[in-house]
Symmetry: C2
Subunit: 353 residues, 2 copies
């Protein structure tokens, strides 16, 4: 009998979402082995449901999701749905409702992976971006007046609370304290966004006093974006605002071999709500249904989930399987389908068990 | 006698600012030749003045600056001045007061220049970013309540007006129409920042109707940041919001050989106010006074200024001199001082005259 059981909500979503999620679950099953019983409930959410019923996330579904230990999400979005409807109505709604304040995005170059950067090796790029996930410019505040006239004004308000900033800053310090370099960089734009920037700066200073072993510095977001390209070794752990985190982690994905490998966890560290794990990539409707999507980002998101669920050994096995697979890929090349990559990864995980 | 005269305000500023501005003026003099009489008035603004008198930009100085044909600025900022004081009090104040709504930032890889990107050639990277310069998240709106308490809230409001968006969008379309590819990309984040994003989208559609020869597309800022690294050839002209433009142009600087080469113009296209030209880099206090700063970004900013002043032939000569110098640098290497680079560039410009 399994020592533990996990009750997982699965949202395959649109486009390549269902394809990559299937492989993520395959690898999860291999990692679970006999120790962990994984129960899954699939939820049909995304463009298909929106078109069929007009629903994005019914309250009853949100309540059901809340009852799970974690959520695995593929991708939502389709050009047929107006921009923002699914993003705000589903993805951001869940991040906010489930207090996913720590949006974890490792930026790590695996050996063998081709980076668009010349002369960069895995030693140079190994950071963890902790992106705030519940407020800032994503709050949805603002409005429009005199719409459609020459005098139109549209505002968009970033809302930053001490509570919201402090909890993610504290989480980032704790993460930094666990890593060998023990360095934390606040990324913001405090010379222009002075109200929000000042709150972030004061909060980092205050929480930093509790972590004397962690060194701290500050970097403007524009400079940070540049350093991701020409000085990535400068960073260890980064803590940043929701929007800045969105932008820099996509640069991070680019320099570590592309969006096909970038994993993320929308984490509620206290476990008051289920955390949600998803690849950084979108639904990629142009390649959907062809079996060519790389499921690796989803598989690495499963590793983040295992870690969060208190199963670090299983998480390490999944990461090791990915690292091996990427090395083999680099040496042997060869095209594999989405399912073949998933099978290979699951096989490697099982072999290590 | 010179056919034309130009009345230039010069703000050398802090750190390496005075060093690079001196070389910019040298090259300007060479480009002006006998056709253009350049008169300069130097203004002592920046950290030094702030410490000496507490003044950042006295109203009387702003009024004097207004009387010039253009402004050449080196860099302002020093760690001894609280973050934001000079940026908001001088740089942003001038951009706003002088309606520098078109912040022009070419992102162009010159032959011979080492890019951190592997296998990229000048054919791949040749874009023009037109960044809005007078509103958006830079408006300075927002505030703080319950400061210093656990219940603190800090807001930061992006203000976007139809007038402000339309004028920069129209300018970007005109620029795109002049270029061989005639393509314009709107970069925003309309799936999250829905009020502002919708205004930008509608404005691009409306103005686009006047430019049927220009093809248009849209790219989220996070994807654009990634494409700057792994698909830069995707872009021709970009129009974007003040903050997004700040971030992506620093990535642009990184991929085209670094901040030492990145030029910018804060342009008031109508000429109601003097436009201001400045390198994208900052005051770099760590290398100030050593004669090692690269003045090329300032020299390329002088080329943008000449173009803006209606002297395109002189602008082309300066750009050609820079292109030659960068090729020679790539072949021969060798360390030159700031002044030597300026002398070499001025010599090349004069030689072409
Ligand atoms: C789809 C979008 C709302 C989302 C975001 O902006 O957070 C995505 O870009 C991400 O990074 O997860
Ligand atoms: C110094 C700062 C205020 C400025 C900006 O954010 O616009 C700079 O980064 C730039 O890009 O010119």
């Amino acid at each position: 009998m399994a020592a533990r059981s996990v009750n997982l909500a699965v949202i395959p979503g649109d486009g390549i979402g269902p394809e990559v999620v299937a492989e993520g679950l395959k690898v999860l099953a291999a990692a679970a082995g006999d120790d962990l019983a994984v129960g899954t409930t699939e939820y049909d959410l995304g463009a298909r449901r929106y078109h069929a019923s007009g629903e994005v996330l019914p309250d009853a579904v949100e309540a059901e999701l809340r009852g799970h230990d974690a959520i695995l999400l593929g991708a939502v979005g389709d050009p047929s749905v107006p921009s923002g409807v699914l993003e705000r109505g589903l993805l951001l709604r869940l991040r906010f409702a489930f207090a996913h304040y720590a949006n974890l995005r490792p930026v790590k170059l695996y050996p063998g992976v081709a980076t668009p950067l010349a002369d960069r090796t895995p030693e140079d790029i190994d950071m963890l971006v902790v992106r705030e996930g519940t407020e800032g410019p994503y709050a949805g505040m603002g409005g429009v007046m005199r719409k459609g006239t020459p005098d139109e004004i549209a505002t968009q308000d970033s809302v930053n609370t001490r509570m919201g900033v402090e909890r993610v800053v504290r989480y980032a310090f704790a993460k930094a304290a666990e890593r060998p370099r023990r360095h934390l960089t606040l990324v913001h734009k405090d010379n222009v966004l002075s109200y929000a920037g000042d709150l972030w700066q004061r909060t980092v200073r205050a929480v930093g006093a509790e972590y004397p072993q962690v060194t701290v510095d500050y970097c403007h977001v524009d400079a940070a974006a540049m350093f991701f390209v020409n000085r990535p070794e400068r960073f260890d752990v980064i803590v940043t605002d929701n929007l800045f985190g969105d932008i820099i982690t996509d640069i991070g994905a680019a320099v570590t071999g592309g969006i096909g490998l970038a994993a993320s966890g929308n984490v509620n560290p206290e476990g008051d709500f289920p955390s949600m794990f998803e690849p950084v990539h979108g639904s990629a409707p142009d390649i959907a249904g062809q079996g060519v999507a790389d499921p690796t980002a989803t598989v690495l998101s499963v590793a983040l989930m295992l870690e969060h669920l208190g199963l670090p050994a299983a998480a390490r096995r999944v990461e090791a399987a990915v690292a091996e697979d990427l090395q083999v890929r680099a040496k042997e090349g060869g095209e594999r389908t989405t399912a073949q990559i998933g099978d290979d990864l699951a096989g490697r995980v099982a072999g290590q068990g």
